[in-house]
Amino acid sequence: MKREGQTRIPSGCAVTAVISKSGERMSGGSIVESMIPMHDRSNGLGGGFAAYGIYPEHRDFYALHLFYDDEGCRRECEEYLRERFEIVDAETIPTRTMREITDEPLIWRYFVFPRRSALRSLQIDDREYIVRATMKINSTINGAYVFSCGKNMGVFKAVGYPEDVGRYYRLDEYEGYLWTAHGRYPTNTPGWWGGAHPFALLDYSVVHNGEISSYDANRRFIEMFGYKCNLQTDTEVITYIIDYLLRRQGLTLTETAAVIAAPFWDTISHRPEGERETLTYLRTVFSSLLVTGPFSIILGFEGGLMALNDRLKLRSMVVGEHGDRVYIASEEAAIRKMDPGAEDIWAPAGGEPVIVRVKEGRY
């Protein structure tokens, strides 16, 4: 069977997120629990989590999480890293041995910073450097796969049901102000750890439920800008689109949402003049980054999240609040599991971004 990257694999899914607006750090135990009632939205072929604020001691360094197929490729990759990065810490990511999780790869994490000399000679910033290095490792070092490369955040994913993956990675031992989770229901994957979600680039992590119809249009466009869609998954391409729009073009989150889930022309024509022009401009310039077909995504980034549905709202997604917590999930049951007291459960409209930020200075 072909794995992610060799063929395109559609899948159904479950997503969850929780964020503390005051930046209070929460144990991962709760979000792992939230996936239990949505067990049937996954099929055991992938689960994962993104956690923000978990590495305060290394907050100025990029945390690279890697899967290795074997020691050979680990050595090759580490050599690559040593040449280009200052590595302040390198370790295996602690896991639990459990019956439900098998065929583990080698799982490592490194806290790194690009060498200044390299940045100077390439005339790029450290973030771009990280992106390029990630692309390079993932496309050229056979058996090595960077699946997380942001600061003070990390992605944890595996083949298995998400609640098992959470326990496997001992997430109850981490504390973060923002957690997202994903349970996967791919239709034809042999189960490859790298193919599980969240998908992340820098501090952007995306969990996604859906199957977009615009995939190849988006992919072929975004690949013009140096991105390599190695996994051929929706989540991957959406992550790159978000990175391109937010980081490379400098759009705001709202503007980004207006590209990805652009309002219909008819809707635009009824908007007030200034807004109408902006929306028309965005649709015209970035028309190839419109995403159609069903999706509900939760984008995590340093200091906040954005949840977004496709413009027809072809996938479920609800939001609830309690105190300084905001919960988002495919199903209300997941929110209730995390916080039975959650209030004001509501369903955002198609194309309506839900943006939640942690108070400035609290993350």
Binding site: R8, S214, E223, S288, L290
Partner: protein
């Protein structure tokens, strides 16, 4: 006679039990095939004049007529086929270059017919265009590489002029002269009503049609016929015609018999003089010359009009497209080898150029590899025959399609391929007033609008089936296509997988 005799290609079959001798056929045949015999009270026919345009067949009120291919042919020979033999006879008779019209009729591969479209099943929903919005609007033109913000932090509109299309189809270039006033008027009015564009071709713009300027693309070709400042300013965009799919590498020739009255005035050449467009633009012998013309035209129109560069699909088309994209052009139009023409040397029409499907795929891929696909829009023509051809072209990477033959068919053309005689019985490819009036532009416009409306519905249906609700996300979405009956190489060039993969 004797050795020069060539048996007529068609037979006029008249069902005498149905013919009421109303003489409509006689009155409607500009070739003089039918005559009335008052003695016998019956109609007679001279099939040697018949071109099988089907005018008489279409108007016969009792369906007493049909035109069939003559079965009086030379002895069968797979190598020396009847048409080939006839061509030899004709050339032996005349010593001349064979002329023909419309697109390449040879049985070369039509890749559209080997490409199949995807649809949603189970894992994501198809979308019903009758229930949900389904968008077909397209903007053609260069897109900025980077956004800009004003001091207030708001996005600044740094877009260069764009063409806005309600659907990704335009009427491609057909000159006034090669086609009639009424044909042009039909196209202009239909384009206006549909919110798309038609193209003047290289014949200038008749003064009556300046009112359709906002939906007009004015063409500048190697003959520069009818080109002046007002003309350039009249349209919504300017197209530089470097080549034409039906006859890559050669120019055009509109015989003096068609340069009459308004045609002569519009082209700005004397009545009766042949209008000869040179094979190349004599001020463009290289890509940097093209760049100069692009910017000359932009200067002449204060950078208010996008500039299109139209080229024929030839072997090295991807590299050519890359060059054009870097020349300052906003839109590249590529014309495939099945594209039509009012007149072309038969050998050229049938043997020069490459299929548009391969040219399109190669160009789109190349422009993406070079990261400049968003610097230009791609418009393709050269036998786009249906809504599914449009959908396949967009999925291969086109922004929009040019149609001409399909538009002419809507206007009544029966593809008899004798445009060059100027005797078009349907009032399209003629300048004879009594024939021109056979095309009532009110009817012509309605039929074009009908055709495009129908295609738009079909495009929406196909999009909805794929779970797509905006044409933008179909563009270059090659995953929506699969090939059948193709070699690995063909699939590779098209960038699609084989069906079943």
């Amino acid at each position: 006679m004797g050795v020069e005799f060539i048996y007529p290609e068609f037979e006029v079959v008249r069902n005498s039990s149905r013919c009421i001798a109303c003489r409509v056929c006689e009155r409607q045949c500009s070739n003089g095939v039918h005559t009335y015999d008052p003695d016998g009270g019956v109609m007679l026919s001279d099939e040697s004049k018949c071109v099988n345009c089907q005018r008489c067949v279409s108007l016969c009120p009792t369906r007493a007529l049909k035109i069939v291919k003559s079965d009086c042919v030379p002895r069968e020979n797979a190598n020396w086929q009847a048409d080939t033999i006839k061509e030899i006879y004709k050339q032996a008779n005349s010593g001349g270059v064979l002329l023909s019209s419309m697109g390449n009729p040879k049985p070369l591969p039509v890749y559209w017919d080997r490409i199949l479209i995807n649809a949603s099943q189970v894992t994501n929903p198809s979308i019903d265009p009758l229930r949900e919005p389904m968008e077909t609007r397209v903007f053609l033109g260069k897109k900025p590489r980077k956004i800009e913000r004003g001091e207030d932090g708001r996005l600044r509109n740094n877009l260069t002029p764009q063409l806005e299309l309600s659907m990704p189809v335009m009427f491609s270039a057909m000159s006034y002269g090669s086609i009639s006033y009424n044909a042009h008027k039909s196209l202009a009015e239909a384009a206006t009503e549909l919110g798309i564009y038609y193209n003047t071709g290289e014949g200038g713009l008749h003064e009556d049609f300046y009112v359709y300027g906002p939906n007009t693309i004015v063409q500048v070709a190697s003959g520069r016929f009818g080109v002046h400042a007002d003309y350039l300013g009249a349209g919504a965009a300017i197209e530089i015609k470097m080549g034409q799919g039906a006859k890559p590498g050669i120019g055009g020739h509109l015989p003096g018999t068609k340069i009459v009255g308004d045609v002569s005035r519009t082209r700005m050449i004397p009545e009766g003089s042949d209008a000869i467009s040179p094979a190349p633009h004599h001020d463009i012998y290289s890509i940097e010359d093209l760049r100069q013309l692009v910017y000359s035209l932009k200067e002449a129109t204060q950078y208010k009009k996008p500039v299109i560069v139209k080229v024929a699909a030839v072997h090295n088309i991807a590299a050519i497209a890359s060059g054009i994209a870097r020349s300052g052009a906003d839109i590249i139009a590529i014309d495939g080898f099945r594209g039509g023409t009012g007149a072309a040397p038969t050998r050229i029409r049938d043997n020069v150029g490459i299929p548009i499907e391969l040219a399109l795929a190669a160009c789109d891929t190349r422009l993406r590899e070079e990261g400049i696909r968003n610097d230009v829009s791609l418009v393709v023509g050269g036998s786009i025959r249906s809504a599914s051809d449009v959908v396949k072209a967009i999925a291969l990477g086109a922004d929009a399609c040019y149609i001409a033959t399909a538009a002419l068919l809507a206007l009544g053309c029966h593809l008899c391929r004798t445009c060059h005689t100027g005797l078009c019985n349907w009032g399209i490819a003629t300048q004879r007033p009594e024939l021109v009036k056979r095309l009532n532009p009110e009817i012509g416009k309605t039929r074009l609008v009908n055709l495009m409306t129908a295609w738009r519905h079909e495009i929406k249906e196909l999009l909805g089936g794929m779970g797509i609700n905006s044409i933008e996300t179909l563009r270059g979405n090659r995953l929506m296509l699969r090939g059948v009956n193709m070699t690995e190489k063909e699939l590779e060039i098209l960038g699609i997988s084989h069906a079943g993969e």
